[in-house]
Amino acid sequence: MSKGIQYQYKEGNLSASEPNKLKAENLHSEEMILNLGPQHPSTHGVLRLEVLMEGEIVKEVVPHIGYLHRCFEKHAENLPYNQIIPFVDRLDYVAAMNNEHVYAMGVERMLGIEEQIPKRVEYARVLVAELNRIASHFIAIGTYGMDIGAFTPFFWIMRDREHIMRLLEWASGARLLYNYIWIGGLFYDLPIGFEEKCEEFVRYIKPKFQELEEILINNKIFIDRTANVGVLPLDLAINCGVTGPMLRASGLRYDLRRVDGYSVYPALDFEVPIGEGKMGKVGDCWDRTYVRYLELHESIKIIEQCLVQLKGDHKRTRDFDPQALVPKKIRPKMQDLYVRGEIPKGELGFFFRADGRNDFPFRCKCRSCSFVNLSVLPEISKGILVADLIAIIGSLDVVMGEVDR
């Protein structure tokens, strides 16, 4: 190989490194294999689908993933616990605060300091996590509308999401990948005036939800495209390990914020919306979007209660140090721990094994909800039209950064 050239042509380079699962010689007449992706705007990232079709009817879907694999678990085995947090941000990069919250909770549980975290820190964590949940659901609903032809709601939603991004940038210094929630505390206390700005944001955003419902959720074309499409029955959903809004849309009132009651969520008052099949069957694409839409209202409720606490019982004091409990050296005792929490897409879990001799985790496995939610796609997309396949992918709300890790 000549100097300076990284890559040379060889015939074998062109053969697929991800070969198709279905073989062309096994096809019946009238059948064909269509390749969707990995670069396709409706796949929400680098997802490749191998679709077996007969005419316009989809007979089988084989997802191929791994195009965004960044070796999170290998990196985690070579980094101290606190330096893993920026990597955790990059799993589900539209809801980084929620990821950090679950991860920090896991390490604190290993260290045994979970109960000692000051209430102000906990309320601030929940506040930023719920803000980020709204931003994530905005992306889910907005891009979903765009997938099936509604362009305007996307711009409206992005305009409103910008306010959240500005708020979180003010708190943490970054727009998307925050590194704000630290093990044992926060990077900084909330900036002065943040609570007031949040209240202003809440007043601003509430009428916008109404707008969103009118332009997208109750739109006749949107309902026609999504109702009765991609119905996911509850028993299949549970057997496939589906969690989050997808499972709730199938009719189960199951939210880890309520079931596990971690952090300060037991003290907060909010509902867990479920799909009721208002426009079609329970568990169809419209239900999934509607559950996300209803969760926006619930997140606003939580934010309002957090703001009351942050301005009342747990208000800022001059000597409050959010890093007071941040350990200088993180070396948990020898143990295995599985921790889980609710992020906008579902159940994010971390399996830790600490060996007690190192500052690095011996094993840090991330159970990502997008990965598991995506694996249900082949089950619910048999015998549908190609256009409906796009509608189903959008309604899963997968983020490829979390699928591939």
């Binding site: 190989m1 990284q6 890559y7 040379q8 060889k10 074998g12 380079n13 697929a16 490194s17 991800e18 070969p19 699962k21 993933i65 791994g66 694999h69 070796c71 678990e73 290998k74 085995e77 549980r109 299949l236 549970i238 057997n239 496939c240 390990g241 189960l252 199951y254 079931v259 020898m334 143990q335 295995d336 721990l337 599985y338 889980r340 159940e347 879990g349 399996f351 094994r353 011996f362 094993r363 496995k365 159970r367 990965f371 598991v372 694996s375 089950e379 591939d404 890790r405």
Partner: protein, 160 residues
């Protein structure tokens, strides 16, 4: 529900080896022999007192050349009873193989493929055991402790 109650349920199937407990793990773990796994998972899912309807997570672990073992850890969860349970299977490092549970929980399909991809653990009777995150022609299993990546992948230098 305590581990002893789980043990009573498990022992209604004829186990080939005695089970052990790991109280150091949260949730508490039951250590099984690889050949018992499938029967135990089946009884835990079907028994009306446990009804573990959800498989949360499958983790592969390589304990390194010194211990010379690998582990597969299953995290089960029961939605109706709000029960957690961890199952552990210890495998030899040479030719590790265990029965697939994808017939019981469909989640296991992709989760086991990931463990196979990263550790090379064979899941017997798995419907579709292919690599999932790495390219199909990648050499070696990246999360093994003694893993050395290849120098060139399709004439592209791996070390950048």
């Amino acid at each position: 529900m305590s581990l002893d109650e789980f043990k009573n349920i498990i022992e209604s199937t004829s186990l080939k080896q005695e089970v052990k407990f790991d109280m150091n793990a949260r949730p508490h773990a039951i250590i099984l022999a690889a050949e018992d796994l499938l029967a135990v998972c089946e009884i835990l899912q079907r028994n009306p007192a446990t009804y573990f309807d959800m498989l949360s997570c499958i983790t592969g672990i390589d304990n390194g050349a010194e211990a010379n073992t690998m582990e597969v850890v299953y995290n089960l969860y029961s939605i109706p009873f709000n029960l957690h349970l961890m199952l552990k299977v210890v495998l030899p490092r040479e030719n590790p193989r265990v029965e697939s549970v994808s017939g019981i929980w469909k989640t296991a399909d992709w989760l086991e493929r990931e463990v196979f991809d990263m550790y090379g653990i064979q899941f017997l009777n798995h419907p579709d055991l292919r690599r999932i995150l790495m390219p199909a022609d990648w050499e070696g299993y990246p999360l093994r402790k003694d893993y050395k990546h290849q120098d060139y992948y399709r004439n592209i230098k791996v070390e950048y």
